[in-house]
């Protein structure tokens, strides 16, 4: 039986702040409040990586938080998607190049959807999550692990990044759709 359709009906969100200024986090919490009320799509803000489907990361990755970020990511059971939320999580933002930060979370984990803004507005976050749901629906349990094991991180100047992993997953998904 195909259960893929139910994934987008009950996406459980895990929210992790990898060292940001809390601006995006407050916008994420505003999504849960009565005005935007994302619970009407069945989304819950769980605090538990083992039961969630969407990892919503804010903030640049500080050198303290990067191990936790990777650990939380690896604790989530597949299928899962990652949404990087805000300028810092996408590229490093104003913190890029600082001694204690890395530029963006895609150096450590594959990111499926980038949401811009500083801080990103609740409408943008909801839009990004809905786009992530379309990817989540098509992912299979094995797809992600197989691509992740095959690909090495690419070195760009002083920084590593794993952007190509998410890119390849996206390509595989579109091929399957066609």
């Amino acid at each position: 039986m195909k259960l893929n359709a139910f994934r987008k009906k009950s996406p459980w969100i895990l929210h992790y702040n990898a060292g940001g200024c809390n601006g995006c986090d407050i916008e994420i919490l505003a999504c849960l409040a009565p005005k935007y009320d994302i619970e009407r799509f069945g989304m819950i803000n769980t605090g538990n990586p083992k039961q969630s489907d969407i990892l919503l990361v804010t903030g640049p990755v500080t050198k303290r938080s990067r191990e936790r970020l990777v650990e939380i990511y690896s604790q989530m059971p597949e299928p899962k998607v990652v949404v990087s939320c805000g300028a810092c999580a996408c590229t490093g933002g104003v913190f890029r190049g600082m001694y204690n930060c890395e530029g963006g979370i895609d150096q450590y984990i594959p990111v499926d959807v980038y949401v811009c803004g500083c801080g990103s507005r609740p409408e943008q976050i909801i839009d990004g999550v809905i786009q992530a749901l379309a990817i989540l629906e098509k992912k299979t349990k094995e797809l992600e692990v197989s691509v992740r094991l095959k690909n090495e991180a690419v070195k760009e100047g002083t920084q590593l990044n794993r952007r190509n992993i998410a890119g390849e997953i996206k390509k595989l998904i579109t091929i399957e759709k066609n």
Binding site: F6, D37, R40, T46, N48, Q51, E78
Partner: protein
């Protein structure tokens, strides 16, 4: 034979009805906060999604204890609905809770241990009151059988209103609702015992929560058992009361909960027992 049909149907459909109750509760809770809320079938969507996730277990005993928690809770509910012994029902429910506590202690996660500790403390809070309720029922109707409540000539809520009050006080502890939701405490220990479960094994814990709703509301229904209208009215009242309380109160710590339950709810249940023995009501 005929009077077995309704309980058996209820027992078989208990998870489905519990899911509907939980879905409805989420809508009611959202409307109380002026939100729109999820669709009614949301709990079932959650379950179908969880069935499709990759299976991750900590170790096999942990997963097994979680499933046994669900099975023994269903069994307790079956005994209750078939009109069995009230004391037996309460102890079967205690058995299912203790399986969950064991599951919490069987992992090395500190949050899981905290959750198990707190579940044990909340068991200490509600169990004495339930036992006193069962003893009061025995003195009132002359039997521990649930069936004797159904054939009693008056609604129990008129004969022992204080026991109903005590039940209202402990039900939020049992259902893990604010202000007594320390066992679950999503913002604090992220679910406690259920923390280490994932995928299809979390489903057992998630569905057991629905069975717990049916169990608690059946206990409430017993107070108006001989007249279905009174029973349903009480259930509706308790449903709204618990949700309103959940929305409007903050979490207390375990000491305050223990003090409230042992110094307020338990004495009220005791007074009820005394009044019943002396036939004052």
């Amino acid at each position: 034979m005929n009077d077995l049909v309704v309980p058996v149907i209820l027992i078989v459909l208990a998870p489905l009805i519990g899911g509907l109750v939980y879905g409805f509760e989420r809508i009611v809770k959202a409307r109380m906060q002026q939100r729109w809320g999820p669709p009614l079938l949301q709990p079932f969507y959650d379950v179908l999604k969880l069935a499709d996730k990759r299976k991750m277990i900590v170790h096999s005993t942990h997963a097994f204890l979680g499933i046994m928690h669900f099975v023994s809770l269903w069994f307790a509910l079956a005994v209750l609905l078939l009109g069995g012994d009230l004391i037996l029902v309460i102890f079967l429910h205690l058995l299912s809770t203790s399986l969950l506590i064991l599951a919490g202690y069987s992992t090395r996660s500190i949050f899981s241990h905290l959750g198990a500790n707190r579940t044990a403390i909340s068991t200490l809070c509600y169990e004495p009151v339930l036992i006193l309720f069962a003893v009061s029922v025995f003195i009132q109707t002359g039997s521990f059988e649930v069936a004797s409540i159904f054939s009693y000539n008056q609604p129990l809520v008129l004969k022992m209103p204080l026991a109903f009050m005590a039940l209202l006080m402990i039900l939020p502890i049992k259902l893990k609702k604010s202000p007594f939701d320390i066992a679950e405490a999503h913002q604090e220990i992220t679910g406690g015992v259920e923390l280490e479960y994932s995928g299809i094994f979390f489903e057992a814990i998630y569905t057991a929560k629905w069975l717990d709703y049916i169990f608690c509301y059946t206990l409430v229904y017993l107070f108006g058992a001989n007249d279905p209208l009174v029973g349903m009215g009480l259930v509706l009242f308790v449903f709204l009361y618990i949700n309103a309380l959940d929305n409007s109160s903050a979490r207390v710590n375990y000491k305050q909960m223990l003090r409230f339950s042992l110094l307020v709810a338990l004495p009220i249940a005791f007074i009820n027992l005394l009044l019943t023995i002396l036939h004052l009501l």
